[in-house]
């Protein structure tokens, strides 16, 4: 059902549900009537006009004759263009469509940077015309088989134009899918400088505020106080079939009014183990900056500057582990 909603919203529609216990459920799918009208950019290749759907168009680059020679790089007969440091595979529309040579065409080119379902490439065309809202008309099955055209349209001046299918062009030109943001390895490395700008979960325990590195936070659970059990005075929680020691130096458990009172427990990772921290309130997520000690310029441990306030970062390793319990106690809890 989530897939249905995503797809309908992608085309500008809405899904509405009306449900009444005992009476039935009504699902309303609203699809805009103007589905068949799409904004497109008219591009020219060898004297012929084609419509390029604007939804997939990221940007346009103009290259004059000289730039065409210099900036389009050829690697083993494969054309590439360096767009702001990123290598963009190029597809020449006239070659793809096997159009005849036209002496009248100028040497300058336009590159339409297209992103079709995360296949990024540059479509090289001779010229650009106006953007137009075009009505998509289906092609006959014989022409659909060509695969590169999504349909045809009649433009404002009465002439017909074929609508290009960037996704099919990408597949035909063997453009691979790419992840957003380029090389993933670089992104992973960027996460390492942890202390300079790291995100923290800011929470309140009683009267004080403290922070935990957001990367270490797994879940925030709200549980009734009755769920917290004790082994040798130490509060523990059954979580995901395992035992979770609870850090409660602030005494949230004692403050809970009765067994049904809801407690907020932040489940986090501490090296190999998971621990829970009982808090009174989760306040915010914020970027914390490392603080240095005045004079020594050494990074101060255990504190961070969060929202202009010095906040102590909870040291999870200080939470005692589960006490080694006799076998009988463990089986009791397991039940």
């Amino acid at each position: 059902m989530d897939v249905v909603r995503n797809n309908i919203e992608k085309i500008g529609g809405k899904v509405e549900i009306e449900s009444c216990a005992g009476s039935g459920t009504t699902l309303r799918l609203r699809i805009p009537l103007t589905l068949a009208i799409i904004p497109a950019l008219i591009v020219r290749s060898r004297g012929q006009n084609f419509a390029l759907p604007q939804g997939m168009l990221d940007e346009l680059v103009h290259l004059n004759a000289e730039q065409v020679k210099e900036q389009i790089e050829w690697l083993e007969k494969v054309p590439l263009y360096r767009l702001r440091g990123r290598l963009l595979p190029l597809v020449f529309l006239d070659r793809l469509l096997e159009q005849k040579e036209d002496a009248e065409v100028s040497a300058s080119r336009y590159i339409a940077v297209v992103n079709a379902d995360s296949r990024c490439f540059g479509l090289v065309v001779d010229g650009l015309a106006d953007p137009e809202e075009i009505v998509v008309k289906p092609l006959s099955p014989l022409l659909k088989r060509i695969g590169l055209f999504a349909g045809a349209t009649v433009m404002g001046d009465g002439k017909t134009a074929l609508i290009l299918d960037p996704g099919a062009i990408a597949i035909r030109a063997s453009v691979a899918t790419s992840r957003e943001g380029g090389e993933p390895k670089a992104v992973a490395a960027a996460e390492k400088p942890a202390n300079s700008e790291q995100e923290f979960l800011l929470f309140e325990t009683g009267a004080e505020q403290a922070a935990l590195p957001l990367n270490d936070v797994i879940r925030i659970e709200r549980i009734p106080r009755a769920s917290v059990e004790h082994i040798a005075q130490m509060p523990v929680l059954q979580f995901d079939g395992a035992l979770l020691p609870i850090e409660d130096s602030s005494g949230m458990l004692r403050q809970a009014a009765n067994d049904n009172a809801q407690l907020t427990v932040v489940v986090c990772r501490d090296g190999e183990r998971h621990v829970g921290v009982a808090v009174s309130d989760v306040l915010d997520v914020a970027k914390g900056a490392a603080l240095t000690e005045a004079g020594t310029a050494a990074i101060a441990n255990g504190v961070t500057l969060l929202k202009e306030r010095v906040t102590s970062v909870m040291n999870l390793s200080s939470i005692p582990g589960l006490p080694p319990s006799p076998a009988s106690l463990t089986t009791e809890i397991a039940q």
């Binding site: 469509l97 092609l139 022409l143 060509i146 002439k159």
Partner: protein, 134 residues
């Protein structure tokens, strides 16, 4: 489609004794089409070529708000392409309309069975013409 044309012609001859055909020209050759088959006749068109289309497709034509796929008779007969504007006959095929582009459209003439001769045997192999009227 050829079978139905033959059948229709025979029916018409049975009823009227003659049929009306529209003459068209592609290159030097004249052809005729029974006018019952024709939905509409359009003149002076420049079809939009479709890259990578099968060889017999002449292009796309804007027809009554729809986009019509047009077969080029010249291409079908493997004649060299012509840059002149074409006339077009609109036919109804299974499920959709399509057009046939010809160089020019001539008169409607009435023919009788006696006017028809058999195809020369050397032409039989081509398959797309059945009879030619003298």
């Amino acid at each position: 489609m050829m079978a139905t044309v033959e059948g229709t012609i025979k029916d018409c001859f049975a009823v009227n004794g003659s049929i009306e055909v529209c003459s068209v020209r592609a290159g030097e050759t004249a052809f005729c089409v029974p006018i019952m088959q024709i939905v509409e006749i359009l003149g002076t068109l420049s079809p939009e070529p479709v890259p990578l289309a099968p060889f017999f497709i002449g292009g796309l034509v804007h027809y009554r708000g729809e986009i019509l796929t047009a077969v080029s008779l010249r291409n079908l007969l493997e004649m060299p392409a012509s840059k002149d504007v074409s006339d077009m006959l609109v036919f109804e095929g299974p499920g959709e309309y399509f057009g046939v582009l010809v160089d020019s459209i001539g008169d409607v003439i009435t023919v009788r069975p006696g006017d028809f001769d058999e195809n020369p045997s050397t032409m039989a192999a081509r398959g797309y013409s059945r009879e030619h009227a003298s």
